[in-house]
Every structure is written in structure tokens, then in C-alpha cells.
């Protein structure tokens, strides 16, 4: 019998395929979206081609390890892969060093996603967020409608906890971003990975998963979500 979590996630992925014409699955090389992608690959393995586009929202400032990992497995898993960058914002000089965090995230992530939805006419965006990772995300539902531009958000991973994600990745021998295994200064690790200037490793025994993310420290999550970020 399928585990309860995998069963639910697979069901939602297949609902997305049944309900929408042109869904895209967001994959940033993190543990949650990698778990979602892996379940989708297994769920649709019998189809001649993978039914969703897979997209990296490339800010230009993710870790080298993240880019290498994504490029390697996008090829290996033969994904219909899109790499989306907000070139206009980048050429205007938006960057995480001198631009404030809020503007930087809005331009390179939120606006970048909105541009992609318009460009490729996506009607649904599959995102691997979980209820337990951040208070703001605790309010999300599996399917929700968004405006500007009009599309649906689909969240197949809401029910997973941090430890269940790692149990899945390890017991299924899913290759994951090597950054998670890197230990710095003896006891610092990456538990949640974003852009390198805004992600710091945190102590190994720290239970605050997103404690190393500048985004969270500044309470930006709520504002960003209201504007359409994941």
C-alpha cells in the first residue's frame, strides 16, 4: 500500500493534470520541490512524456551547487525544463547586496514568476510548500486561485513535515542538493536553501528550519505571499 503522504501527493498531482491544460512545476533544487518532482516522475513514469513543464526561477544568485545539481538532473531525468530569469530587473541593477531584500525578492522571484506565467500561458503552478515550515504557509490550501495574472496554485506537499521529507529522500535514494550535506565551521549546515547572499548556515541542532533565511528574519514572507510569491 502507498504511504498516506505519497498517496495524497500523487492524487493532487494527477488532479492538476486532469484539471489544467498547461501546468508548471516549480523546482529550485530544494528538498521539498525535489521530493514533489520525484513523486511526479514516478507517478507519471508510464506516460510517454512528463505532463508538466518544470521551471527554475533563476534569480542569478542561487548557489553554484544548486545550479550544477539542477542542470545535471534536469538532463538525467529528461525534464521539459525551463530556466526563467528576470533579465530586465537584473539589467537594471537589482541585486541582493545593494537592493533592499523586499524589492530584490519581489523583482527576482515574484515578478519573475508572473512574467513566466504570462509568457508561457501557464494556468497552474505547482509549488512544494509545506504547512509546518512557516506560520504564513499554515494558511494555504491544496488548490487556490490567484490573480495578476490569473492562475491556480497547487500545493501537493502541504501535509509533509521536515523529517518526513528527509525520510522519503533517503529511503528512496533520491539524489538531492549536495549543499544540505555540507558542514561549515564544524557545526553549521544549510537546512533551507535560497540565494547565497541571503542564506546562512545554522547550527546542526537548530530546529528552526528557515533560521538561516534572511527573508524570514525580516518578516517578509507574509508581504511577499500577498504579492504572489510562493
Amino acid at each position: 500500500m502507498q504511504s498516506k503522504l505519497v498517496s495524497q501527493t500523487e492524487f493532487i498531482l494527477k488532479e492538476a493534470k486532469a484539471r489544467f491544460k498547461n501546468p508548471v512545476l516549480l523546482w529550485a533544487g530544494g528538498k521539498d520541490s525535489t521530493t514533489m518532482l520525484h513523486i511526479a516522475l514516478k507517478a507519471f513514469a508510464r506516460l510517454p512524456k512528463f505532463p508538466f513543464k518544470v521551471m527554475l526561477l533563476d534569480t542569478g544568485y542561487q548557489f553554484t551547487e544548486t545550479y550544477e545539481y539542477i542542470e545535471k538532473y534536469a538532463k538525467k531525468w529528461k525534464l521539459p525544463f525551463i530556466r526563467q530569469k528576470n533579465l530586465k530587473a537584473l539589467s537594471e541593477g537589482i541585486n541582493p547586496f545593494t537592493t533592499d531584500h523586499f524589492t530584490c525578492c519581489t523583482k527576482l522571484k515574484t515578478e519573475n514568476l508572473a512574467n513566466a506565467i504570462r509568457k508561457y500561458k501557464f494556468d497552474a503552478v505547482l509549488v512544494g510548500i509545506r504547512w509546518d515550515e512557516h506560520g504564513v504557509r499554515g494558511k494555504e490550501s491544496f488548490f487556490s486561485k490567484r490573480k495578476n495574472p490569473d492562475h491556480w496554485r497547487v500545493h501537493p506537499m502541504l501535509n509533509w513535515s521536515l523529517s518526513e521529507i528527509w525520510d522519503y529522500l533517503k529511503s528512496n535514494k533520491v539524489p538531492y542538493n549536495p549543499l544540505y550535506d555540507r558542514i561549515e565551521h564544524g557545526n553549521l549546515t544549510y537546512k533551507s536553501i535560497g540565494c547565497y547572499p541571503c542564506t546562512k548556515p545554522i547550527p546542526i541542532d537548530d530546529k528552526e528550519e528557515r533560521g538561516g533565511r534572511a527573508l524570514d528574519k525580516e518578516q517578509l514572507m507574509e508581504d511577499l505571499r500577498a504579492l504572489g510569491y510562493m
Binding site: M1, S7, F11, R46, W131, D132, K145, S161, D205, G211
Partner: protein
């Protein structure tokens, strides 16, 4: 190793200590976020109140709740060595009814919190009644605030008898309902045993929770396999669907509804593996012998050949309005959605309006139902739908009311009329 997965709803009268019990469970199992604990330790130290950390945890929860933020206990799992325990929302934080409607069908049990000083109160009865009505299979009672009655065994015995009478009246077997004397404030018998009630030889609340039976997969029930999609693989139509109840095996004779056509099962796949049978929760690729394109569609239902699903066009249900600015009146037309089914429906009658925080009936035959209100209603659908009362097939009772792609209400069927 796969952990045992439990889902619980916490119920009980206001101020009997639902959040304290939850706070104590998280605190004593080291499941309070580290950053929160750090802040608490620092504050306690400054105030010279080391040892009172738990009280600070509770203050923290209250404060964050007042600001409309969940501390993260909502949807938070309590992870112990062998278990992953989910609590349906932080108790008291949101509407009781909403929690029950979303949580009841997948819950292993309800934790009923009763304060030892006040004993059984109105919401104790109302919550327990709805818990039974919505099909939650088990109840465990946390007899909280024993510190306020001097840990009296006499008081425990007296309340135990009264609670046992109540659970029997509601329809549970008292032998299946453990009653644990405890104190969330002092941490007695919640996670740790403590030393104040040496007369109590039973298990702690956490031990009871961990020993709850997992919800038996409904494989002993009749097969219900709603058709989610049809994929064409190598030119052959293949049925996609997740089993709700029952089991399907190779060579089984099955029937597709509403057409009533019969087929035999030729091949079954779960993901990329070929298997001989599917159980509840399994997402299947089902090859039916001789199935032609167009003979089956999303929204159909598969049963065994000698069976027929319940087709309902009129049924009673508890409905909770979650997002409707103007409210609804009898005769309100909307869209019914359930599993893979979607069809217009009409609310024929509003039967009883229910207080969403207590579960009490507050008005009979109300003239309208406002946003965030709940009621027992009668619904008619434009075509027969496969729905079963919660008590029989808990997974086939939940539905949604939809308007303009937005979920305006959620419901749970309790009685099929026709």
C-alpha cells in the same frame, strides 16, 4: 522505518485547558521551536522565574494567537521516536466546527479535555456528540486540572463515572475510552508520570495516544474507486484513480457507473510497478479488458460487478460557510464538488443552525446562513452523485460548495434521503 501516523482532534469546554494540554505535549517532548525556547529561557531568567518555562510557552501561544499568527502548532506534527502525530489545528484557535468538518474523516481519535474542578459542561457534551456524529472512531479523555482538586482520587472516581455515562449515552463504548487524570500546568501524567497521583496506575496521556489503533484502512468495505482520469498509453485507454474503500485484484469483475458496464481487470500498476491488487489509498493505473475510448470518463465510479454505489440526489449534511459575503438562504443555488465529481446543486432547506464554537443548536429552520456560520441543511443535486453518510464511508462524505471557482462552503453528509 515508516512512523505510525496519527491524526487527532482536540475537543472540550472553553477554558478546560485544550491549549495547555497541547502545549504540555509539545513542551515535554522537546517539540517547541528552539528559537521560541531560547526567548522563553531568557525572559524567565531575567524575571528570576527559572522553572516556570512552561507557563511562558503558554503565554507565547496566547500572545501569538491574539496577533492572529499561529505559533506553528497549527498543522505542526508532534514527532516522537515511533510516531508522527498531527493535531487538527491549534484547539480553540479557529472554529470548532471547521476543524471537525476538515479533520473528522481522517482522525484516529478525539482528545476530550475535561477540567477536574468544573467537570462536564455544555460544550463537553456538544463536542462529544458531534465527534460521534461525524464518525471519529475513538475518544480519550484528559481529565485536566487535577492540581485544582488536590489530586483527589475521590474526585477522579466521581468524574470518571459521570464521563463514562456520558460517552455511553453518545454511543462510544466506555471500555474503549481511557480517562487519564492529569495536570497540564504541573506536567503530571501528560508526557511524564510525575509523583502527585501515585494512586493512578494507568498510562500517561501520551502513552495512550501512542497506543491508539491506526485507522484501519477501509479495505474490508465494498470497493469504491472514483475515476480521476483516463490516460491513453500505447493506444489503450487506462483508468486512473485512487481507491477510497475496498480492494481490487487482477481478474476481478468490476462495474463502471453510471453506465453499469462490466469489465474484468487485466492489469494493475502503482506508479511504475505492476501489482496484483490495490488497496485503499493506492493510486492505480487500471487496465480493463475491452475498454474502449469514450466508455468511461472522469467522475464515474467503479465497484465490484455485484455491487452498486449509493446514488443520492437529496441528502442531509452539515455545511460550514467559509467564504460568502452575502450569506445563503433556502433555495440557494451553487455547485457541488466532491472527489472528481462536479455538478450544480440547490440548498433546499436550512434545518438547524449550529454555534460554530460549541456545536450547540442555536436556531431551528433559520431563514438564512451568514458567512462563517454552520448548519444542518438539506441539499439536492442536479444529477445523482456518489455520496455516503459519514458514519458508513467516512471518505465518501466530504464535499465542497463552489461558486466562481472559489470554495464558499464545506460539508459532510450525514444522511441520504433519496
Amino acid at each position: 522505518m515508516e512512523k505510525k501516523y496519527l491524526h487527532l482532534v482536540v475537543i472540550g469546554h472553553i477554558d478546560h485547558g485544550k491549549s495547555s494540554i497541547l502545549g504540555r505535549l509539545f513542551y515535554d517532548t522537546d517539540n517547541v521551536p528552539k528559537a521560541v525556547m531560547e526567548r522563553i529561557r531568557k525572559t524567565a531568567k531575567i524575571l528570576g522565574k527559572e522553572g516556570f518555562e512552561f507557563a511562558f510557552v503558554m503565554d507565547q501561544i496566547k500572545e501569538e494567537r491574539a496577533r492572529g499568527i499561529t505559533i506553528g502548532l497549527a498543522h505542526k506534527k508532534l514527532v516522537t521516536e515511533k510516531h508522527s502525530i498531527t493535531f487538527a489545528d491549534a484547539p480553540g484557535h479557529r472554529d470548532f466546527i471547521k476543524n471537525m468538518l476538515t479533520g473528522a474523516s481522517e482522525s484516529n481519535a478525539a482528545i476530550l479535555v475535561v477540567a477536574a474542578d468544573e467537570g462536564i459542561q455544555s460544550q463537553t457534551k456538544q463536542h462529544l456528540f458531534l465527534t460521534k456524529m461525524l464518525g471519529v472512531p475513538r475518544v480519550a479523555v484528559a481529565l485536566n486540572k487535577m492540581d485544582l482538586v488536590d489530586y483527589s482520587q475521590e474526585r477522579f472516581k466521581q468524574l470518571k463515572e459521570m464521563i463514562e455515562q456520558l460517552v455511553e449515552r453518545v454511543g462510544y463504548n466506555k471500555l474503549d475510552v481511557p480517562i487519564i487524570p492529569c495536570s497540564a500546568l504541573e506536567g503530571e501524567n501528560v508526557v511524564k508520570r510525575g509523583n502527585k497521583m501515585s494512586w493512578y496506575k494507568g498510562q500517561t496521556l501520551l502513552e495512550h495516544i501512542e497506543n491508539l489503533p491506526e485507522v484501519t484502512p477501509p479495505s474490508n468495505l465494498a470497493l469504491r474507486l472514483p475515476v480521476q482520469d483516463i490516460y491513453t498509453i500505447e493506444g489503450i485507454p487506462v483508468v486512473i484513480g485512487r481507491i477510497v474503500t475496498g480492494v481490487v485484484k487482477l481478474d476481478d469483475k468490476v462495474r463502471v457507473w453510471p453506465s453499469g458496464r462490466e469489465y474484468s481487470v487485466e492489469r494493475i500498476y502503482i506508479q511504475d510497478k505492476e501489482v496484483e491488487a490495490g488497496e485503499p489509498g493506492d493510486n492505480l493505473y487500471l487496465y480493463l479488458k475491452g475498454l474502449k475510448q469514450g466508455e468511461i470518463k472522469r467522475g464515474d465510479m467503479i465497484t465490484l460487478h455485484n455491487d452498486k454505489p449509493t446514488f443520492a440526489t437529496r441528502f442531509k449534511a452539515y455545511v460550514f460557510i467559509i467564504n460568502h459575503p452575502t450569506g445563503i438562504v433556502p433555495g440557494y443555488k451553487t455547485r457541488f464538488e466532491m472527489l472528481t465529481e462536479s455538478t450544480p446543486c440547490i440548498i433546499n432547506a436550512l434545518l438547524n443552525k449550529i454555534d460554530t464554537t460549541t456545536g450547540a443548536i442555536v436556531e431551528e429552520s433559520p431563514s438564512q446562513l451568514q458567512d462563517k456560520e454552520a448548519a444542518l441543511v438539506e441539499i439536492a443535486t442536479s444529477k445523482p452523485v456518489y455520496i455516503e453518510p459519514q458514519q458508513h464511508f467516512s471518505n465518501l462524505a466530504n464535499f465542497r460548495l463552489i461558486e466562481d471557482d472559489t470554495r464558499v462552503g464545506m460539508g459532510i453528509c450525514v444522511e441520504v434521503i433519496e
